[in-house]
Symmetry: C2
């Protein structure tokens, strides 16, 4: 068991004999990266992305994962396929399968490759979050009915903005938004794979809406990597604007401490009624 993200999401190629850009990997889902026993979706995506990236020989640019069954601790197999490898971009498939149960956990499709040069345009700014030291460590409160803080948060040095924590004590502010700072507890640098984790690492924004929603299983998560962050914690904001027909979208923006946008995410999740 490792609390180091790079180790806990490492993958080992087990079959280099396949042609056509296909390859198999072994990976071990570590303890301590879960939400109430279910392994975090960003962690699973990052693990699969490492295998896909190794075959693509390029970092992720846009990656989509569909969540099929809950992730759990133990041995997994990752199957990678190459759809098309061009000069600049490579499009890859991935599949993460629980080696014990044989059940597929996530299926992925992504395009990998370096970013290039372009004129810049920006019609948005980093979220306004109080300085890191003035934000809240996300700890369990005294209220036994409050939302428990997931084990995952103990791996991370997440600090939620003061306006984002109301749901933990049964006092959501009525706006489906959550923001704060993301970092690793052990201070390791954040690369593209860390950005994938950051894109799925906060409590669901809908928890602050005031709606009776307590469980938000992800159907699909897409992350666009927009840059590599400079050192320091990331400013992260997630917003849900529409809950309807049993589903919601959650949009994430991840900014580095120099004010550069480094990732955008969107997920579609289900909103089952509380039991």
């Amino acid at each position: 068991m490792s609390h180091n993200f790079a180790i806990a999401t490492s993958v080992t190629r087990v079959d280099t004999s396949q042609g056509d850009g296909a390859a198999s990997f072994h990976a071990e889902v570590h303890e301590g990266w879960d939400i109430l026993g279910n392994t975090n979706g960003g962690y699973l995506m990052a693990m699969a992305a490492r295998a896909m990236s190794e075959v693509a020989e390029r970092p992720p640019l846009t990656l989509t994962a569909h969540y099929l069954s809950p992730g759990s601790v133990g041995a997994h197999r990752i199957e990678v396929g190459t759809v098309r490898a061009g000069r600049r971009l490579a499009t890859m498939t991935g599949s993460l399968v629980n080696a014990t149960t044989g059940r597929e956990v996530i299926r992925l499709l992504g395009t990998f490759g370096g970013r290039g040069e372009s004129p810049d345009y920006r019609a948005g700014n980093p979220p306004e979050i109080p300085p890191y030291d003035e934000c809240n460590v996300d700890r369990d409160g005294d209220d036994p009915d409050a939302q428990p803080v997931p084990e995952l948060q103990r791996r991370l040095a997440v600090r939620l903005a003061p306006g984002s924590t109301g749901f933990r004590s049964g006092d959501p502010r009525g706006v489906a938004e959550v923001s704060g700072w993301f970092d690793f507890a052990d201070g390791q640098p954040i690369d593209e794979f860390g950005l994938l984790l950051a894109s799925d690492s906060f409590p669901p924004a809908v928890f602050n809406s005031g709606l009776p929603v307590s469980w938000v299983p992800t159907v699909e998560l897409t992350v666009h990597i927009r840059g590599l962050p400079v050192a320091g914690p990331l400013a992260v904001i997630f917003r849900t604007r529409f809950v309807s027909g049993g589903v919601l979208e959650e949009d994430g923006e991840v900014w580095d401490s120099a004010g550069n946008l480094v990732a955008q995410s969107r997920q579609l999740a289900l909103t089952p009624r509380p039991a």
Copy 2:
């Protein structure tokens, strides 16, 4: 050649003997659904989605397409696979291949299934667009250097908002946004597949930014179907908030004429410099 969207995106199952939820389809890309000779990306996505939906026996809920090579008129093959078919949702793969060249055009991954019940929450409104009859038919202007109006627009009854057409005459308003009304020219009703087309049917929002960007090839497009529209034209808005590192995102919202959100889209596109 058909100008009827349902006919022009129809698919025919050619192999029903495959097990494991796999199937092959024949499809014909029709003339007249292109942008300067390249078949529209939403059209290609809708065509593949029809095949995936037929095997899933459910409508699309969230669908991601990665664009591999330009689409062109003629015979195509669609390969569909079933990743997981559950009670409510089915996750499917798709691949659209040009039958003449053998080149894969798009690869898809999506989850299909009905929407359900939930409490509603809404932190956004339909775009403010003047009434349909007061908006502009998107026709070629008198300026020979202006962006030409794609052939696709002659299949559609799109009306751009007055503030969205500046780029055609070399006078972009400096905000990467384009909005207007979407409908089919022949008045056919808009179903889930029509919503996929609507999500990729407008001139790129970045054309109104004032940046020197003249060509915006899509890498990946994800569409969430949020509802079936009531009769009447759709109010559509696309926004690009960040252009950097040679890529941009474009976010789309599609609303029906009763003010219901019916689709959300996001694409990642390249921003090559003009030659």
